[in-house]
C-alpha cells in the first residue's frame, strides 16, 4: 500500500541546493538547542528531585553574565540565519536577463501557460533544463500561488498586477505543480505537472505542438480589433504615444517623474490609463478594464514588447522612436 514515501524532496533546480543549505543549517541548530534544553530539564529533574517533604530549592536570583551569554549568542546565530535567508531570497527574486519567458495565468481552478512561440498548456508546464525560465504571472479572479516543491520556488498570483517567478531546472523529470494559496472549492485540484526536459527534447516538444499565434501576433490582432491603432500610430496627430521602442525604456511622465516601461507599466496603462500620463499627451484614453482578459493583456504586452526588439513584428508605428516617450 505505502510503497512510495519519500522524506526529503527532490532537488531539481539550481535554487534547490541553496534553499536546502539554509534548511540543514537550521535543522542542526534546532536539534542542538531542543536536545540541550530537553537534556538539561531531564537531568535537573532527576538530580534535584525532592527528597523529603519540606525541602526547598536554593535561593539563586540570577546571573547577569549568563543572561548576556544567552542573549548575545542566540542573537548572533539568528543574524547568520537572517543574512543567509536574505541572500538566497534576493538571488531567487531577481530574474537574470535573457531568461526564457512564459506567461502564466491562474484562474479557479487551473493554470494556463503560454510560451512565446504560441504554444499553450493547461495544468502543465514544459521547460528546458540548464536555462533560466521566467514566469510572468497574473490572476483572473482570486489569489493563487504557483508552487513547484522540487524547484523550491513559489510566488503568489495576485489579481490586478503581475508577479514574477524564475528558476533554472537542472534535472530532467516530472515534478508536482501546486496552488499554494487557498482559492476556493477545488483548491487542491489546482495542481499539475512541470516537465523539465533536455534542451533538444524541449525544442522537439515545442515543434510538435499545434502552436496558435504567438502571443505577440495575437496581441497585434487585438491592437487592431480593440482600436488601439487609431491613436497609437504615426500620423494620428499623436493622440497617443508611439509604442515603438517603448518597452524597457525610461518614460517621462506629465508630472515630471520617470518610470521604466515594464510589463506592470504597460498593464496599468491599458487598464488604468489615467494613472501615468506620458509628458506631452492628453489624458484621453479610455480604460480597457473588463474589455480584455488577463491572457489578452499579456498578449498586448507581448506585442508592445516585440516592437522594441530588433526582429520584432514591426507593424504599425514602426517609425523611428520620437525622442522621449
Amino acid at each position: 500500500m505505502f510503497t512510495n514515501f519519500p522524506f526529503f524532496p527532490e532537488q531539481a533546480s539550481a535554487q534547490a541546493a541553496q534553499v536546502d543549505g539554509i534548511y540543514f543549517f537550521m535543522v542542526a541548530i534546532t536539534a542542538f538547542f531542543s536536545l540541550l534544553i530537553a537534556a538539561l530539564v531531564v537531568l535537573f529533574a532527576i538530580k534535584y528531585r525532592r527528597r523529603h517533604k519540606d525541602e526547598v530549592g536554593a535561593a539563586i536570583h540570577g546571573s547577569l553574565a549568563l543572561e548576556l551569554l544567552w542573549t548575545v549568542i542566540p542573537f548572533m546565530i539568528t543574524m547568520v540565519m537572517f543574512a543567509w535567508g536574505v541572500k538566497v531570497f534576493y538571488e531567487m527574486y531577481r530574474p537574470p536577463a535573457g531568461a526564457m519567458e512564459v506567461y502564466v495565468v491562474g484562474k479557479q481552478w487551473m493554470w494556463k501557460a503560454q510560451h512565446m512561440d504560441g504554444l499553450r498548456e493547461i495544468n502543465e508546464l514544459h521547460v528546458p533544463i540548464g536555462r533560466p525560465v521566467k514566469l510572468i504571472m497574473g490572476s483572473e479572479d482570486v489569489l493563487h500561488s504557483f508552487y513547484i516543491p522540487a524547484f523550491r520556488v513559489k510566488a503568489d498570483v495576485i489579481p490586478g498586477r503581475y508577479n514574477v517567478l524564475w528558476f533554472t531546472a537542472t534535472k530532467p523529470g516530472r515534478y508536482h505543480l501546486f496552488c499554494a494559496e487557498y482559492c476556493g472549492t477545488n483548491h487542491s485540484g489546482m495542481i499539475g505537472w512541470v516537465y523539465a526536459m533536455e534542451p533538444t527534447e524541449f525544442q522537439a516538444w515545442l515543434g510538435g505542438g499545434t502552436a496558435s499565434d504567438t502571443p505577440a501576433a495575437a496581441g497585434e490582432k487585438l491592437f487592431q480589433s480593440q482600436g488601439c491603432v487609431a491613436c497609437h500610430r504615426q500620423g494620428a496627430a499623436l493622440q497617443g504615444p508611439l509604442l515603438t521602442s517603448v518597452f524597457g525604456s525610461t518614460v517621462t511622465l506629465q508630472s515630471g517623474a520617470t518610470v521604466v516601461a515594464d510589463e506592470a507599466y504597460i498593464r496599468e496603462s491599458i487598464v488604468n490609463p489615467q494613472a501615468k500620463i506620458v509628458a506631452g499627451f492628453q489624458p484621453i484614453m479610455p480604460t480597457f478594464q473588463g474589455l480584455v482578459t488577463e491572457e489578452q493583456l499579456l498578449q498586448l504586452i507581448a506585442y508592445v514588447k516585440s516592437l522594441s526588439t530588433p526582429g520584432g513584428s514591426g507593424g504599425h508605428g514602426a517609425a523611428p522612436p520620437p525622442g522621449k516617450n
Partner: protein, 100 residues
C-alpha cells in the same frame, strides 16, 4: 491628576477660539496651491488642533504621567502601522525586472 483641577472658563474660550482660527486657516490654506506643502500644512494644523483638544478639553495637561503615556501610545502605535506598513508600498518596484 485630572480629578480636582478646575480650569477657568476663559481658558476654554481661548482654546475654542484657537480651534476656530485653525479651521479657518486650514480652509484658506487649501485654496492656495502649494504642491506637496498643502498636505504638510493641512496635517500640521489638524495635529495642532487635536493637541489642543487633548491637552485642555480632555485635561491631559493636568493628568498623571500614566495618562500621558497612554494617550501617546495610541498615536505611536498608529505611526508603527503607517510607518512599517508603508515601507512595503514605498519600496515596491525598486528591483528592476521583478514587477513588485
Amino acid at each position: 491628576m485630572s480629578a480636582g483641577h478646575v480650569a477657568p472658563k476663559s481658558m476654554y474660550y481661548m482654546v475654542f477660539g484657537a480651534l476656530i482660527v485653525g479651521t479657518i486657516l486650514t480652509v484658506a490654506a487649501a485654496k492656495v496651491d502649494m504642491g506637496p506643502l498643502n498636505n504638510i500644512v493641512m496635517l500640521a494644523i489638524a495635529c495642532t488642533k487635536a493637541t489642543l483638544v487633548i491637552l485642555f478639553f480632555m485635561h491631559v495637561r493636568w493628568s498623571s504621567r500614566l495618562t500621558w503615556v497612554v494617550a501617546m501610545s495610541g498615536f505611536f502605535w498608529l505611526l508603527i502601522l503607517f510607518g512599517i506598513g508603508m515601507t512595503d508600498y514605498m519600496s515596491r518596484g525598486w528591483v528592476p525586472g521583478t514587477l513588485r
